[in-house]
Amino acid sequence: MFGNKIKLDKDLLERCKLISEKRGYSSVEEFIAHTLEKELSAKETTSDEEEEEISKRLKGLGYL
């Protein structure tokens, strides 16, 4: 699943393992990948919407 290796703090990894088991993920890797994907997707969407809003607001300024 992971093309590149990422180092995680021991405590953080333990916490991930606990939650992934509780929530029924097939592996801790699956849980981490899913969590990251959700987080990135939220940020990307916000960024696109934000950009459009910001662009609209700023470009009303005659100087631009």
């Binding site: 960024s47 934000e50 950009e51 910001i54 662009s55 609209k56 607001r57 700023l58 470009k59 009303g60 300024l61 005659g62 100087y63 631009l64």
Partner: protein
């Protein structure tokens, strides 16, 4: 910073819904001093001392000449950088940008690098409950004035001096003091922007693909009828915050060049080339319970062969404002009762519609004349009431029309049209300003102190410069891809040491300040600033050999106050003729460093401050050898026997 609650919410009868109530302004009792002293300050944004002096010598400005001979006329040192929100903030607070925190039209969030308009911020309610599609706020949203420091009129109010502040820039929302205020530059339209026009046409819209400052709506004429929508504010009561809209129809006369617009309860009959009066529209947020009122005007540009209809930005309705635009809160309603509807957006001249070629020169001038007529009516009204204390009145016409029509009087400008009918336009608007001054001089007694100022002068805008591209080429910026990008979103911050944002700002990617800062404060920062400053001064326009940047300031060298830490590290002072490009201002990296400015926006002032001082005239002798904008606040206070306040960096210009 000053806070104001924005939205008006009401309790619904069921237990589930809860709404916060709009908190109005309560004017506290203030012991108004019975003062005979009167001070009138007129601000003509963008009036240039060199142009003014020439026109006075030519005998074309008799009232300015009269004022000059009575008291004096000197250039007025502007702000660094010479941008209106910065300059007017200097005037308002008597501080420089280090004290009031406004450094540019555009600032950036250090955590996201997202730019924002510097003088105010609007936030939705933080807490909401969601029911289906609805998101009901449990508290009010708020709009915040971001200019720090005390306005000089707060000091006047502390001393009981009656004060009216009419459309001062960088005063939205107006600060919550018992002073009569109408907010000016910085006041948004109903969509929360600086002004978004609408243009409806069944003609070719290819040329309008990337329009800014407005929206073009392709429409179809079916059986002599057009149907479309006018857009209003976002509906914050809905989860997806969709934009509200109102349907409207246009019935086109099949034989004559006439059309009838029907929208809500209104029916507006217009001939081709005719402007409507203001039309009030209700944008529904919650059926039967909550709506927002806005006003707009229609201009029937063409009936046939192509249908073309321009609609002004939908302005906040002064008779029922959705956002705080005046103090006391019923003052805008009082003006409406007296004078009818009027433009409430901070910069009402629709320069974008002209730049984007939605309006022609003459049509834009008609629109600008509507604005000016309203301002003159308001000026007459305020002058008629002015019995005591301070009246400040602002006109933006000279600034906006100088921006758009510099090309008509400057044959060196790339956008110059030799056959233009508007060659004398800028001279004419100066003469209009002279007529405004005449009204004041004729109505006021000789005991009134009159001060006329501008915030900056003007220069040609011939060539635009891509600062961010230069920084990239010189190795100060690293990009993740080769695209033009936008808002610095394609910057590799781990390899980037400096970036441009705003019209004159250059920031270092500083550790501890920027979210992914790499430059160490102290020795590394100082060395980098010096290196970049020296290099900037060596840039030459390969076409003309001219120096592009004539001065680079460091914030620590020129600013004083607790907000110096928020300033750009370097402030770029462009040489005459040059200015930052739109692309670089918005964090883009286009190819090439310089290009001709072929836009109708042909004059500007976002350059080295020494090239664009403003004006100062008065009927009192100006003793100060080199007066500056931040001197005006202590000068006004002194007229009322109030000492200069400890935070003010200037000094009075008269010897009282």
């Amino acid at each position: 910073m000053k806070f104001n609650n924005v939205f008006s919410l009401s309790h619904i009868l069921t237990a589930i819904f809860a709404f916060a109530l709009l908190l109005g302004y309560g004017l506290s009792e203030s012991s108004i001093k019975n003062t005979d002293t009167k001070v009138l300050v007129i601000g003509f944004d963008g009036m240039d001392p060199i142009l003014l002096e020439r026109l006075i010598k030519e005998g074309k400005m008799p009232n300015f000449e009269r004022l000059m001979k009575t008291g004096g006329f000197k250039p007025l040192k502007t702000s660094i950088p010479p941008q209106s929100p910065v300059a007017w903030s200097n005037f308002i607070t008597g501080m420089n940008p280090g004290g009031h925190g406004i450094f540019d039209f555009i600032h950036r969030e250090t955590k996201t690098m997202i730019p924002y308009l510097s003088t105010s911020k609007t936030e939705d309610a933080k807490k909401k409950i969601t029911i289906g599609d609805w998101a009901i706020p449990l508290s009010s949203g708020k709009v915040t004035l971001l200019r720090h420091g005390k306005a000089f009129w707060e000091v006047l109010e502390d001393h009981g001096v009656p004060t009216t502040i009419f459309r001062a820039p960088a005063n939205f929302p107006p600060i919550d003091v018992p002073v009569v205020q109408l907010s000016g530059m910085g006041t948004p339209d109903i969509q929360g922007t600086y002004g978004t026009f609408s243009f409806y046409t069944d003609g070719n819209t290819n040329e309008f693909e990337d329009v800014s400052g407005g929206k073009v709506f392709p429409v179809r004429v079916m059986n002599n009828k057009v149907e479309s929508k006018i857009f209003g504010p976002q509906n914050v009561f809905k989860k997806s915050k969709p934009q509200t809209f109102i349907d409207f129809s246009v019935f086109i006369d099949p034989e004559n060049l006439v059309a009838k617009i029907t929208v809500q309860d209104h029916q507006i009959l217009l001939k081709e080339g005719e402007w409507s009066e203001w039309v009030a529209l209700d944008f529904e947020l919650i059926p039967f319970l909550e709506s927002v009122s806005g006003i707009c005007r229609f201009y029937l540009k063409e009936v046939r062969p192509d249908f073309k209809l321009y609609v002004t930005p939908v302005n906040i309705d002064p008779s029922s404002p959705a956002m705080p635009i005046s103090t006391p809160d019923n003052y805008s309603e009082e003006l409406y009762e007296e004078l009818g509807f009027f433009y409430t957006q901070g910069i009402p001249e629709d320069t974008k519609a002209l730049t984007e070629k939605v309006l022609e020169d003459s049509e834009f001038l008609e629109q600008a004349n509507i604005v000016f007529k309203e301002e003159l009516d308001m000026f007459d009204y305020e002058l008629s009431k002015f019995k005591s204390g301070l009246l400040f009145f602002y006109f933006g016409r000279v600034d906006q029309l100088s921006h758009m029509f510099w090309r008509t009087m400057d044959s060196d400008h790339p956008a110059h049209e030799p056959a233009t009918e508007h060659r004398m336009l800028i001279e004419n608007i100066y003469q209009e300003a002279d007529a405004v001054l005449k009204k004041a001089l004729n109505q006021l007694d000789s005991n009134t102190t009159i001060i006329v100022i501008s915030d900056h002068g003007f220069a040609p805008f011939y060539r635009s410069f891509n600062l961010n591209t230069w920084l990239k080429n010189e190795g100060y910026v690293s990009l993740v891809d080769d695209s033009e990008g936008g808002f610095l979103q394609n910057v590799d911050w781990s390899q980037t040491r400096a970036y441009g944002m705003g019209f004159n700002g250059l920031y270092l990617n500083l550790e501890g300040r920027e979210i992914k800062g790499v430059v160490q404060p102290g020795v590394e920062k100082n060395a980098l600033m010096e290196e970049i400053s020296k290099k900037l001064l060596t840039i030459r326009d390969l076409e003309t050999g001219k120096q592009v940047i004539s001065r680079v300031y460091s914030a620590e060298e020129i600013y004083k106050g607790q907000y110096v830490k928020d300033a750009p590290d370097l402030i770029v002072g462009y040489n005459k003729g040059f200015r930052a490009s739109t692309e670089t201002v918005l964090g883009k990296f286009p190819k090439g460093l310089l290009k001709d400015n072929l836009d109708k926006w042909s004059g500007d002032h976002l350059i080295e401050a020494k090239f664009v001082p403003g004006i100062l005239l008065s009927n009192k002798k100006i003793q100060s050898a080199n007066p500056a904008l931040y001197d005006i606040a202590p000068t006004i206070l002194a007229e009322f026997g109030i000492p200069k306040q400890e935070w003010m960096v200037g000094k009075r210009v008269f010897n009282n």
